[in-house]
């Protein structure tokens, strides 16, 4: 069984909502659409206060190469263009829409019929994807069209579809694969066409045997698509780890993943690509797993982007009394938030409600150099050393120990028996070191 070579951990899977059908979440009364839901420059607002918008109307235009369009997920009136306190507690620019009815743009094909044929050429496909505001919705929210246009000196050889879902608790990709297998397959074919490759691998961990069987069956009808069952190990869904696991090539430090010849896209992104290219549907809704052990009615919800967290939590039975922590995303890499009125975005893959017992971090004790973090680190770094030198402010030592290679997967903090906040320091130090390196490069160029 294939898997990546270095490090990794086995957190409890806790896939409480595995096999749950996708249910449609209620429409919000007010949708708040952040202008920055992707990596890169925030989109530029193109509507004015008081404007009537339909589902799919362009609200904000990509601002630069690495940026993405944002479309209205609801129909109604733009009530204000202001800032909103997002999950981090900071105010971010956003568009407020008061929802009236559910009227869609006429160009969007809302039928369920599968459209297999795609007659567009690669350029047209990529343009369409950019136009529809598709981003990597596995969590990183990197604009998809950018990944499909690698630098001219790098030629993609294969497409890798990330259906690993190695984060504990999350089941949104799993649910999507079970219900939209045909559409995903067409989406994968479109992506293959866009980057001119004839081979695609779909990597799925073996904890989803039903999805593996279903997609294997579907893949018989599609040429060049191969399903690769993977051993369960976190962080297999990391782009670099997945490339290593499937085609046994390692991305060099600082290089683009495409330098190995592989372009990686999330399985939900493939579905979004299908909808965008074949159905003219912009990225306005996504599957969000709302889960937690004390939640009454956890599930996989098809939710409009811009709905508040509280709306989805309400749909899952309301916030339990013993809630201790709310995490946006999975427990390994997700962000904790204290603001349940924050809006969801394109990258909100899950809402995890941890009970008060699960929420607290145990007190940290001194490092005993057990090296469990070294063994766990999938990038082959020395987390105990990095966190120590960052805490002391020795950023040059941190740089010489390759802190910039850290993918912030959390395996080190997860495995530390002394409960040290290793990743907290490393993430901070990584930011500092990258800033120092950028400043130095800018200086060298002068």
């Amino acid at each position: 069984m294939k898997t990546f070579k270095i490090g990794g951990v086995h957190p409890h899977e806790n896939k409480l909502t595995a096999g749950y059908h996708i249910t449609t979440a209620p429409l919000p009364q007010q949708a708040i659409i952040l202008l920055s839901q992707h990596i890169g420059a925030p989109a530029q607002c193109v509507v004015e206060k008081g404007a009537h918008v339909k589902v799919g109307t362009l609200l904000a235009q990509a601002n630069g190469f690495v940026s993405a369009n944002i479309h209205s997920p609801v129909s109604g009136v733009v009530s204000k263009i202001d800032s909103v306190v997002d999950g981090s507690g900071y105010a971010k620019p956003a568009i407020y829409i008061n929802v009236e009815g559910d009227e869609w743009e006429d160009s969007i094909d809302r039928s369920n019929t599968l459209v297999k044929e795609c007659n567009l050429d690669a350029k047209a496909i990529i343009d369409k994807i950019a136009q529809m505001g598709i981003v990597g919705i596995g969590g990183a929210t990197f604009p998809t069209q950018v990944k499909l246009m690698p630098p001219p000196n790098m030629k993609p050889e294969v497409l890798i579809i990330n259906a690993v879902e190695c984060e504990p608790y999350l089941t949104n990709d799993h649910a999507l694969m079970l219900e939209k297998a045909d559409e995903i397959m067409v989406g994968v074919e479109i992506l293959m066409k866009a980057i001119h490759v004839t081979k695609a691998y779909i990597g799925i961990e073996i904890n989803k045997p039903d999805a593996i069987d279903l997609l294997k069956e579907k893949s018989l009808e599609h040429q060049g698509i191969e399903i690769v069952p993977l051993q369960c190990k976190y962080p297999q869904g990391g782009e670099k780890q997945l490339i290593d696991a499937i085609i046994n090539r390692q991305v060099a430090s600082g290089a683009l993943p495409v330098s190995t010849g592989a372009v990686v896209q999330n399985v939900a992104t493939a579905y979004a690509v299908y909808e965008a290219v074949q159905k003219n549907k912009p990225l306005i809704e996504r599957v969000v797993t709302v889960t937690g052990k004390s939640l009454q009615n956890p599930g996989n919800f098809l939710s409009r982007i811009g709905a508040s967290l509280s709306l989805l939590i309400e749909a899952a039975g309301g916030l339990p009394e013993d809630t201790g922590k709310i995490v946006l995303g999975g427990p390994m890499m997700g962000r904790a938030t204290a603001n349940i009125e924050a809006p969801t975005g394109k990258g909100t893959s899950g809402i995890l409600i941890l009970t008060d017992d699960e929420a607290h971090r145990p007190d940290a004790s001194p490092c005993i150099r057990c090296a469990k973090c070294v063994a766990a680190c999938p990038m082959g770094l020395e987390p105990y050393l990095l966190s120590k030198v960052v805490a002391m402010g020795n950023y040059d030592v941190a740089e010489s120990h390759h802190i910039y290679d850290c993918i912030e997967c959390g395996c080190c903090s997860f495995s530390c028996p002394a409960n040290r906040p290793l990743l907290d320091y490393i993430r901070h130090g990584k930011g500092k070191v990258m800033a120092i390196m950028r400043a130095r490069n800018a200086n060298d160029k002068k």
Binding site: I6, V9, P11, P168, D244, R249, Q250, V251, A252, S253, A255, G261, E321, D322, T323, G324, K325, I326, V327, P331, M332, M333, A336, T337, A338, L352, L354, D356, H360, R361, P362, S365, P366, I368, R369, C370, A371, K372, V374, A375, M379, G380, L381, E382, Y384, L385, H401, D405, E408, G410, S413, F414, S415, P417, A418, N419, P421, L423, D424, R427
Partner: protein
């Protein structure tokens, strides 16, 4: 409703704690303890109890009154130091010497460096070496193992290591390896039974408390090294000689429980292997050509000192370091 907790990711933990690691090692030491009780009786029990109790008390007092910090005895590391120190002592050692050893192990070996995690040398080892140098007479007078209830059979004989060092070929070949596997041999009471120690090793591997790298590299090095230097006396002799080197003295106890101490051993796989190989070589060099019949303690002690250097030069293999295309 409670106030929500906010922290950076990850939000889950493996559940493993420092205390669990320490108690895991203690559990792995139980078979060896039972064997030593069987062969050395009350003496082994008394020495262990004294050692553990004094280690815990010294750590508590130093932590509370000298370092003015929160006492950390609950994490089990002082208990472990106490047990390991005791296992490296003869069962008939006067108890006051045990207390001195415990004071040195905890006071100088551990707390003087700043407590758990900051010490350079394995505290139990520091205590044992201190006692070995200060009380050579008492430390090398081992009672013959017997299953008498009191175990105070004061008759002492040449240990296997003495025979290996000074004895002739016939003496060496006549040693019963089986007895040594079980533990019916002279020596510090925790180190005598190879089988019990190996059971502990298997347990720690299963619980993933330690990895195989250090013990296996030490044992393999000792075996191969002693095999090749004695091969001139015949293949059969060399095999027995190498086998005896592995099973005698404190080698297994040291390789499995002392050299693998987290704080004082290297952090990377490559470093662990280098560390193990060096311990093996130094042990045999001291055993055969040094002043002492046993070199394990000194070998580990020396390599403890080299560990920071190993950590500095032996780095883990990074992702993408060897870029494969093909």
């Amino acid at each position: 409703m409670n106030k929500l907790v906010v922290s950076p990711s990850p939000h889950v933990h493996s559940g493993l704690s420092t205390a669990q690691c320490m108690y895991g090692v203690l559990i792995a030491l139980i078979p060896a303890f039972i064997v030593s009780l069987y062969f050395f009786g009350l003496g082994a029990l008394l020495v262990t109890a004294t050692s553990v109790l004094s280690c815990v008390i010294f750590e508590y007092l130093i932590q509370k009154y000298l370092l003015k910090g929160q006492p950390t005895i609950a994490n089990g590391s002082a208990i472990l130091t106490g047990v390991l120190l005791a296992f490296n002592l003869p069962s008939n050692l006067p108890l006051w010497i045990v207390v001195i050893g415990a004071l040195f192990a905890i006071g100088i070996g551990k707390m003087a460096f700043g407590g758990l995690g900051s010490n350079i040398f394995n505290p139990a080892l520091a205590g044992r070496i201190f006692l070995l140098i200060s009380f050579p007479q008492q430390m090398t007078t081992w009672p013959r193992p017997s299953n008498l209830p009191m175990g105070l059979d004061a008759e002492t004989g040449a240990t296997t290591l003495n025979v290996l060092k000074y004895g002739n070929v016939e003496d060496i070949i006549s040693i019963d390896v089986m007895e040594m596997l079980v533990g019916n041999a002279g020596g510090s009471f925790g180190e005598v039974s190879a089988i019990a120690l190996l059971i502990g090793f298997a347990y720690m591997l299963w619980r993933r408390i330690i990895t195989w790298h250090i013990p296996v590299s030490i044992i393999a090095t000792v075996f191969l090294f002693s095999f090749f230097i004695s091969i001139e006396k015949g293949l059969e002799f060399a095999l027995i000689f190498a086998e005896l080197q592995v099973f005698s003295g404190g080698l297994l106890l040291g390789a499995i429980f002392m050299a693998t101490d987290y704080v004082t051993s290297p952090t990377t796989r490559g470093g662990m292997l280098l560390y193990g190989v060096m311990i093996g070589i130094i042990t045999i060099v001291i055993r055969l050509w040094g002043a002492y019949p046993e070199g394990m303690s000194f070998a580990i002690f020396i390599m403890n000192g080299v560990t920071p250097l190993i950590n500095n030069y032996m780095k883990p293999k990074r992702f993408g370091e060897v870029v494969k295309h093909g």
